[in-house]
Amino acid sequence: MKSLSDCRVLLVDDAKPNLDILVEGLKGDHKLSVAMNGETALQIAARTPPDLVLLDIVMPGMDGYEVCRRLRRMPETADVPIMFLSSLEEVQNKTRGFEAGANDYLTKPFEMLEVKARVRSLLKAKAYSDAVKEQIATELRVAREIQMGMLPHDFTPFEEAYGVSFGAALEPAREVGGDLYGVCAAAPDRLVMFVGDVSGKGIPASMFMVRAISLARLLARESAEPERILARLNDELSAENPSGMFVTFLCAVFEPTSRRLMLANAGHCRPVLLSADEPPRWAVKNLGTALGFETGLEFERTDLTLRPGDTLILYSDGVSEAFNPQEECYGNDRLLAGVGGLANESAAAITASLLGNVRAFANSAPQSDDLAILVVQVNGGSRLTLTLPATPEDVMRGVEALQAFATAQHVPEKAIFGLALALEECASNIVNHALKRDAGKTFQVAFERTRDSFIVELRDDGPEFDPTGISPSPSKTADDDEPGGWGIALARRNTDEIHYRRDVSRNTLRLTKRLVPASGDE
């Protein structure tokens, strides 16, 4: 706690004799700042925030009431004790002073002894409330650390054991929150994932959240089906729930061998399923009832078979119900549209994009609710995405990666040569022209082997440039040495389809080469 002699008192009065008396009386006990009008007082308060303000009311210019109201609006002085010292002694004046935000009111003429006693009393009260606040803040920080410690941070063991990759984010609206997610290696061929949202916010929600997450982890090992896990979790949480809290909960069980995904929902936001070449869709239809209301409820199960590269996006309503400064809601439509172009991205990139979308939408509006995102992606045996710096050497790294990848995918040698050439030409175009060989910039290449074709996708954030618009002109006049158009002509000649797309600030070039169906290698 700050000692009383270290506390700074700001004295505001337009009459110098009054100020002199106050200075004389208080200078031995406290540090002092002095102002002779309202404007100066506000400037001093902003520069050197005081621990207490003694404020005259009747002053030329801004009066004391207004100074008091403004001090309350400034973050530096919102909680500082303010005492009026005024010759106005009507009860209406005093009432008005307290309404403006003052803590005390003393009429002139005053006894210096009384001023000193009240100043000490106000400073002590302020110091005590500061200490309590700081203690609460410290405890909340520790509580947050404990809470965050309950969430999985290192997903690597799960990723290696189950052939999936993860992305995750959790942002409580306050220091501690009620959103949760978890991953549990329940059995060698059973990975359990969940995300939930406890009613309310702050400490009560976080305590209920801790209870739910601990129980969910235990139950995930005991039951194979998500609807059983939810039913038992509901029984446990409802049985002793005097505060009447509840939690929405989505449970997913993935079996990597068969790629079967089982889902059950207890009133939580519906997860989104992302597949290549398909628009994003809801992975479950039903909402179900939240956990904690009453025992004996049953839950429905949805079964899906995922394909390599498929992505499941679990999240809380901090995403779908984020608000912007105009009080518009982010909403399901924006959510689906926002992840629409991301089917070929990694789980981490999808998480970052979704979080970025929500933040950009919310703009500067304060986060209204806790926000959780958990993204799980089945490793694509037939897809590879690389992000490369914009240099010719990295173009060739991409080409070599394509050659290795396509060879592993049993693509015929001749087709690989053509694809490598087409990639080299298109990537060189991007690196040399769009990104000007700036090694600080990057472009992306993605390879995908589908049943009957091989797809190469190139993405960059350079200026709009559609290479398919260049007419291939190998038959330029005989002595023309400007071989412009050779690159795109070669890319065309070695693929079956080249498609260009411009989204907002991004170029996407998609090269397709048809192959004989993958059943037998050539």
Partner: protein
């Protein structure tokens, strides 16, 4: 894949005039500048004929063709030409795009090339 460049001034009477450039590996956006750099002194000198031996060349893109094209142009201006020998089938397909340019000659074998060069050398001598 790197590019290995071996420049060999041919033995014989007309040594300075025919130069063989053996390329092995990948002639692409990353390696083409190095070939350009190594060819520069030849193009600045009096070399009239350059033979590119592509037996070991595995990959080529338009960046590589561009080096061949500028070489061809310089040589042609001094009445020489760029010859290519031992082209692998996949390289040949890419090369199609500039094959018909004047000042370019493609040979299947060294024997075929030698016969042709012998005739050329004689005509050079007569012209000089």
């Amino acid at each position: 894949m790197p590019l290995d460049i071996r420049i060999q001034k041919d033995v014989g009477d007309q040594a300075a005039r025919v130069v063989t450039v053996k390329l092995a590996g990948s002639l692409d956006t990353a390696t083409a500048p190095e070939l350009e750099k190594q060819l520069a002194p030849l193009l600045a000198g009096s070399t009239k004929d350059i033979v590119f031996d592509l037996a070991e060349l595995k990959f080529i893109s338009s960046a590589g063709l561009r080096v061949f094209a500028t070489t061809r142009k310089t040589l042609k201006e001094r009445d020489g030409q760029a010859s290519f020998v031992h082209m692998q089938p996949q390289i040949q397909e890419v090369f199609e795009i500039m094959r018909s340019l004047p000042g370019v000659a493609v040979f299947k074998s060294v024997a075929e090339l030698d016969r042709y060069l012998a005739v050329r050398q004689r005509s050079h001598l007569q012209n000089d």
